[in-house]
């Protein structure tokens, strides 16, 4: 049976695991794709994601901070994740679905986006500078 090590991660750790790993100095394209908002990364290219992120930050300047965004993405909760990033992505995807379901959306350049994926774009734009 495959060994599964579940660890408890804090908000910050959750996001940090995802983003620090995948946005390291020279992340591979596969790593990059994993780090991006999964659905949007199929629809948007890298520049569009950055532009979307910048537009979101312009709209919500209080979130213009990597740590703040990571906290918000993890929702200040402790979550159980597996040994890889899959669980983080599953968590974020679920959060995106919940955003859409509860109407927690934002319009960025006309796109109706979940706040979570808009924040992912924002974080991406900050990290990629």
């Amino acid at each position: 049976m495959k060994r599964r090590n579940f660890i408890q991660l804090s908000t910050f750790a959750t996001a940090a695991l995802s983003f620090s790993l995948l946005y390291s100095c020279n992340p591979s394209s596969a790593e990059k794709a994993e780090a991006l908002p999964i659905f949007l990364s199929r629809l948007f290219d890298e520049n569009t994601i950055k532009d979307t992120g910048q537009a979101y930050l312009k709209k919500t300047p209080a979130e213009n901070n990597e740590n703040r965004l990571m906290q918000l993405l993890a929702d200040n909760k402790k979550i159980a994740i597996g040994e890889d990033e899959k669980a983080i992505h599953e968590y974020l995807n679920k959060k995106i679905k919940t955003d859409f379901e509860t109407g927690s959306t934002v319009m960025i350049k006309g796109w109706v986006l979940a706040v979570t994926e808009a924040r992912q774009c924002a974080l991406f734009s900050l990290i990629k500078g």
Binding site: F39, L40, R42, L43, I96, K97, D99, F100, E101, G103, T105, M107, K109, G110, W111, V112, L113, A114
Partner: protein, 510 residues
């Protein structure tokens, strides 16, 4: 029986049991309901059986307010009326359309959908639409490849349309009407005046004229005004020799609350494969039924929006397509010429659609809020028969723009939740503070609301039976009685309402 009123001796007196003024969808449907009854029915049509420029010109008018199509060509003035260029789109109203909605001023009918629903099947026969079932499930049962999107129907649902061939009432029912023993069709009989008793509580006769210089008098027990929202108001307002403000206009409601459906491109829907869209696609003249995305009563209530639906068209084709209002020109075959121009101008455009996605334009049709300032009044200029021309002041409000934005946002939220795709709204909808309208803002050539229905004579023109308040024998048939416009095209419902009126009158005649 058919009589050309130009050939009658001048000042003829025409008498019958009921007089239907106008031979369009409402007037012809009403007449068909009375065939083989013991009653003599007079059906008055201002034009002949074919397009006649001199008659059509009688419809010319002026427009102010929101840019609109020319009044002269948007309605057709001959036997069959505007069904002569009708596209044939049929759908039922929703329950919410009849309700008082506290976020929409002047909403709320004195009747409900249940009062109209029994008449839909009879109306469908006249427009040659087969199925009585307007649910997606029904159509999926007929064709399993028609699959609704997996959306939460409490939020976004698939509203079905059915398509008439389209039925041209002028050709389809001409022989039936002309050969009917008790239907007396008079062509070239334009009603230009109404004469009542001294209290203006009972109509005695109407005056009909034509450009041959003939004038006739028509007397009946009951009169049914079935011209269209613009002409119904124009006739009532012009009949001011006994009632200075016009017949039925004691409280200044005639002509007010003119409504149209906004029909406008609102955004794009980017669907990830595999996306089964067959149910939502349309091949004009081939497709029998299709769905549009509608937001639920619950969502309309929660977000305080108007009612509307969004259709899907492949984005590469729709992107360059101009709006009807941008290409419309006056004249015979205005509709056909406009359609040709649209198709000629529309060159498919290359759109960078990521692999694994399909993109569709969202085109929203939506009711406008009933608004007393959106209205028909009389111009000082008269037509060749001496009738004041109509003036239209079409007015939209911020609620329309808010609702367009919100309806498509809700659709975007629901397709996002279902992980089906994402929605992008057009530029003109992105800034919530921007109340302006783009040049391609148009209507669906649906005229409604100028003789609105209310049980209170101080709040409307006709009562729940479509009788003009305080006048014992004058009724209105058609969409001018609508209190609100509903999300969908008015034809099927206006015919149903007319059949309902017809049954009511038959009871009264007994």
């Amino acid at each position: 029986m058919h009589i050309d009123a130009r050939e009658l001796e001048n000042n003829s007196i025409i008498e019958g049991d009921i007089c239907i003024i106008g031979a369009g969808a409402a007037g012809i449907s009403m007449a068909l309901e009375w065939i083989n009854t013991p009653y003599k029915v007079i059906l008055l049509e201002g034009g002949g059986f074919e397009y006649d420029e001199q008659v059509q010109e009688l419809y010319a008018g002026k427009e102010t307010g929101q840019h609109y199509f020319p009044l002269k060509s948007i309605r057709l003035h001959y036997f069959g009326g505007t069904t002569g260029h009708w596209a044939g789109w049929c759908a039922e109203f929703d329950e919410i359309d009849f309700k008082k909605r506290d976020w929409i001023a002047h909403s709320g009918w004195p009747i409900t959908l249940d009062d109209i629903k029994p008449f839909y099947p009879r109306a469908q026969k006249y427009v040659e639409v087969d199925g009585n079932d307007f649910t997606a499930a029904h159509w999926q049962q007929k064709d399993p490849t028609l699959k609704p999107f997996p959306l939460n129907e409490n939020k976004v649902w698939s509203k079905m349309w059915q398509f008439s061939p389209p039925t041209r009432f002028g050709t389809k029912y001409r022989d039936t009407i002309v050969n009917a023993r008790n239907i007396h069709l008079y062509t070239y009989a334009n009603v230009v005046d109404i004469t009542a008793d001294e209290n203006v509580s009972h109509i005695k006769e109407v005056t009909a004229k034509n450009y041959a210089g003939k004038q006739h008098t028509v007397r009946a027990k009951y009169f049914i005004l079935a011209c269209c929202s613009v002409q119904n108001a124009r006739i009532l307002l012009s009949a001011n020799k006994q009632a200075p403000k016009g017949v039925g206009n004691d409280y200044d409601y005639v002509g007010r609350y003119f409504m149209e459906h906004l029909e406008i491109k609102t955004g794009s829907l980017w669907l990830a494969d595999p996306a089964d869209v067959k149910l939502y696609m349309m091949d004009f003249g081939v497709t029998k039924a299709r769905a549009e995305l509608a937001i639920s009563e619950q969502m309309q209530t929660q977000y305080r929006t108007l009612n509307g639906t969004s259709s899907l068209s492949p984005l590469e084709i729709a992107e360059n397509q101009r709006a009807f209002i941008e290409v419309w020109t006056d004249g015979e075959d205005a509709m056909d010429n406009s359609v040709k121009k649209l198709n000629t101008d529309a060159k498919p455009v290359h759109i960078n659609i990521p692999k694994g996605f399909k993109a569709y334009q969202l085109f929203t049709r939506m009711e406008q809020a009933p608004n007393p300032d959106s209205r028909i009044t009389l111009d000082t200029e008269t037509d060749s028969l001496g009738m004041p021309r109509a003036k239209l002041n079409w007015v939209l409000t911020p609620l329309e723009k808010y609702s367009l934005r919100r309806i498509n946002t809700v659709i975007g939220q629901e397709v996002g939740r279902a992980s089906m795709g994402r929605v992008k709204l057009f530029d003109y909808l992105q800034n919530e503070d921007d109340e302006s309208w783009p040049s391609f803002t148009g209507g669906g050539w649906h005229h409604m609301g100028t003789t609105r229905m209310s049980n209170d004579p101080k709040q409307g023109v006709v009562d729940a039976d479509c009788k003009i308040h305080n006048i014992s024998n004058l009724y209105v048939a058609g969409a001018s009685c609508y209190v609100t416009a509903g999300a969908v095209n008015p034809t099927l419902t206006l015919i149903s309402l007319t059949i309902r009126l017809s049954d009511h009158l038959k009871q009264k005649m007994k």
